[in-house]
């Protein structure tokens, strides 16, 4: 059974055998800042259906594979 018990974060921290991960080429920015997220929220407000409750209720699919 999986347990919900808390465990400490990864053994990997400070593990001398593990080289520091190299940022892959092309990944200019490695994280998304809170400011980045906040700036996109307004845009997403415009994308979301106005009547969210009705939209969610009517999204009904047939099961597939």
């Amino acid at each position: 059974m999986a347990s919900q018990e808390q465990s400490r974060p990864q053994r990997r921290e400070g593990d001398p055998d593990t080289p520091a991960p190299v940022t892959p080429p092309g990944a200019a920015q490695t994280t998304v800042s809170d400011a980045d997220i906040d700036s996109v929220l307004d845009e997403i407000d415009d994308v979301l259906e106005i009547n969210a409750e009705e939209f969610v209720r009517s999204f009904v699919q047939k099961g597939g594979q």
């Binding site: 059974m1 999986a2 347990s3 919900q4 018990e5 808390q6 465990s7 974060p9 990864q10 053994r11 990997r12 921290e13 593990t18 991960p21 190299v22 940022t23 892959p24 092309g26 990944a27 920015q29 490695t30 994280t31 998304v32 809170d34 980045d36 997220i37 906040d38 700036s39 996109v40 929220l41 845009e43 997403i44 994308v47 979301l48 259906e49 969210a52 409750e53 939209f55 969610v56 009517s58 999204f59 009904v60 699919q61 047939k62 099961g63 597939g64 594979q65």
Partner: protein, 507 residues
């Protein structure tokens, strides 16, 4: 490390404003609208079912047809069901009540993502054809895997493997990996339980729909390891491992890692290089518990008594792959650029998931989605029961750019793109060059009028002036490449010349 593989996705389909619309009819319209626009023919006969064996089980038996659920009889050609083979080598058709894009066979994780992105563009174009007025759409398509109300539909991966590898070894070593793989490629979901009866967020779209460990079914009692044994290739040499547990990805990095890491783990299994037994005590309930815990602290109970986090278990697989590659190639990241990319990205996301899961918001769908949902909740003080959050989850996967939350995020530069959009656009009409998909796609492009039907492992031609149809079997997935047949097609102005040379040469 190369492996023949591919991904197939059933897209969610609905008619905005008309919840009574028949999804099979809608799906058929999607496929036929696209096929017509491209001058491709659909429907009866377009798919060659001669070699299809959906009831063959990898454990060594075949299910009697009378015992099968009707949804398992995928080899019956229903004339009302549209079905077309595209010039990029993919199959585009109606599966049950969803339009499905089955990408062509490719050999690298990058190519999987490229042709998967092409599938999204094909769906987008098909929907645009049916929605001349975007303000009054008649059909909407979604790249997700559940409606949150108890229905799920699949994104399946296919991996060509050596037939001689015992299926028991695959089950033993792949099961623990599939229980925890969702951390690096889950698509995220609002709602817990098949019908979302508990509010909250979970890592995977699909996990709650898995109810058994091993089995043949794909539409009910879904198993973590699917045993469908339908190789679409020389059965004595190969099996096609049909993986049904994955989510549909939109993040390139997550999609790359999903197939890239799985392919490497399969290599470990094939070469008996898996160093330790990490059998999970209760795979199904653990799969659910891992998905339900975005803090990643849940412990996995192994049968040998150890308790590990999902991340520690993933590191075990990563380290086994690194040792395997080191021994084989002299480099723990592998000798080729594709393997190196997978190994580097894999270590990178595992390390960052260990420090702060939210730091992977550019790379992994579930993290990107959760980050955005949290920002929404914080801004407007929303509980998880708020319908706007469920709406955001559904619209995350809308394939219309103007309605897609994911596309909005990507346009804002907040998602790492590995595949330039130009490459995805090119893959809409162009097949991969290094598998039989090249021959399939090129024949559709050059001789579409003469191709009577096609399948993964055959093409059937009608030759002008001949009464008998000509069937070309393609049971070797790595033959029929551009290198192999390119010159022949170049010097064949018509299908008659092609077949004369092909059959004459014994190829």
């Amino acid at each position: 490390m190369r492996r023949v593989m591919g991904v197939e996705t059933e897209y969610g389909v609905s008619a905005p404003g008309d919840p009574t619309a028949n999804p099979m009819v809608l799906s058929g319209q999607v496929v036929t609208a696209y096929a017509r626009a491209k001058g491709l023919h659909t429907g009866r006969g377009a798919w060659d079912y001669a070699y299809e064996q959906p009831l063959r089980d990898a454990r060594g038996w075949e299910l009697g047809r009378s015992f099968a659920d009707p949804s398992q009889l995928t080899d019956i050609d229903d004339p009302t069901m549209a079905n077309v083979v595209l010039t990029n080598g993919a199959r585009f058709y109606v599966d049950h009540a969803h339009p499905e894009y089955s990408g062509p066979e490719v050999t690298t994780p990058r190519a999987v993502v490229t042709w998967d992105r092409a599938g999204d563009l094909i769906m987008q174009e098909a929907a645009e054809l049916l929605n001349p007025d975007p303000a009054r759409p008649t059909v909407a398509l979604y790249k997700n895997n559940t409606d949150g109300k108890g229905a799920s539909y699949g994104t399946h991966e296919n991996y060509l493997m050596r037939r001689q590898t015992p299926f028991g070894d695959i089950v033993r070593h792949l099961m623990p990996f599939f229980v925890v793989r969702q951390l690096i490629c889950g698509a995220g979901r609002v709602g817990i339980g098949q019908d979302s009866r508990v509010s909250g967020f979970q890592i995977s779209q699909r996990s709650d729909f898995f109810e058994t460990e091993v089995g043949l079914e794909t539409t009910l009692k879904r198993p973590i390891i699917n045993t469908r044994d339908e190789p679409h290739a020389t059965a004595d040499s190969y099996r096609r491992l049909h993986v049904i547990i994955g989510d549909a990805n939109q993040c390139d990095v997550a999609g790359l890692l999903k197939v890239g890491t799985t392919s490497l783990v399969l290599a470990l299994i094939e070469d008996r290089a898996m160093p330790a037994d990490v059998t999970v005590a209760n795979p199904v309930s653990t799969l659910h518990a891992i998905s339900h815990d975005p803090t990643l602290r849940t412990l996995v109970q192994l049968r040998d008594g150890r308790r590990l986090t999902a991340l520690e278990l993933l590191w075990t697989y990563h380290d086994a792959c690194a040792a395997y590659l080191s021994e084989r190639t002299g480099d723990a990241a592998g000798a080729d650029a594709d393997t190196r990319e997978v190994m580097t990205r894999w270590a990178d996301v595992l390390t960052r998931l260990g420090h702060d899961p939210m730091s992977c918001a550019r790379e992994i769908d579930w993290v990107a989605k959760l980050r955005l949902l949290q920002a929404y909740r914080d801004r407007d003080s929303l509980a998880w029961t708020e319908p706007r959050l469920a709406a955001l989850d559904i619209q995350w996967s809308d394939i219309r750019p103007s309605k897609s939350v994911f596309r909005t995020l990507r346009s804002a530069g907040q998602v790492t793109e590995l595949i330039p959009i130009e490459a995805a656009r090119a893959a809409v009409a162009t097949p991969p060059e290094d598998t039989r998909a090249w021959f399939r796609g090129e024949c559709l492009r050059r001789y579409a009028a003469n191709v009577v039907s096609a399948s993964w492992d055959s093409l059937i031609f009608e030759v002008p002036g001949q009464s008998a149809l000509q069937r070309i079997p393609m049971l070797e997935p790595l033959r029929g490449t551009r290198g192999h047949l390119g010159p022949l097609l170049e010097r064949s102005p018509d299908v008659g010349t092609l077949l004369r040379e092909l059959l004459g040469s014994g190829d």
